[in-house]
Symmetry: C2
Subunit: 125 residues, 2 copies
């Protein structure tokens, strides 16, 4: 990690200082980055989309619906579980997963809107 003062030439020192103190705390930044990191994998993304559709599903159906191995699905669900994105209900030897809150749906919709806005070719502006 970088020291608090950096050796980069500055144009508007006043603005830099005010922006700097308005930034979220280091802890918040790390938290946000981890949440977004969970959403950055196609497999986990499909899983969340499946839960958005299916409501509550067991691991093997989730694996089948998203085209993953059982082991892969289980690893993915572990990460989502630890970050409280999904919650699990156990019944016998089955484990049924569902989304833990409604933010995921909104995150999805927003990101899709952004993707739609930027579709039709990427590259330098």
């Amino acid at each position: 990690m970088e020291p608090d003062a950096c050796s980069v030439p500055v144009v508007d020192a006043e603005r830099v200082a005010s922006v700097r103190q308005a930034l979220p705390s280091e802890e918040t930044v790390q938290d946000l980055a981890q949440v977004f990191g969970l959403l950055a994998d196609p497999g986990r993304l499909r899983m969340m989309a499946a839960l958005l559709e299916g409501g509550e599903m067991c691991v093997c159906d989730l694996a089948a619906a998203t085209g993953q191995s059982m082991s892969g699905a289980s690893h993915a669900l572990r990460l989502l579980r630890m970050r409280r994105v999904v919650k699990v209900r156990r019944s016998g030897r089955m484990a049924y997963y569902q989304l833990a809150d409604s933010h995921v749906r909104m995150l999805f919709d927003l990101a899709i809107t952004h993707a739609r806005h930027t579709e039709g070719g990427l590259g330098d502006g």
Copy 2:
């Protein structure tokens, strides 16, 4: 990537089929994963937060405000530029960056809300 039919035992085949066909297209999933991937890095996250606060800033001020090297900031901005998350205005030898649309703010707020909801200890449920 997995074949379309997978060798995982299925409990509710009907539901699996209906969820499977309701999933977003492969292209959409990849797009979404890439957008979220951009947000998954603390440096880029701080950069977007700075632009949210500062409106429009040059690269060196952005680097100073977020505690990155010039080179690091430039690499980060390149990725954000290519995904149309930020846009650049050039004036002489300066480059001024700003957010390209308002979705980033909403994505931030939503993710922060989720983080608040899950704060106070992580782990298996």
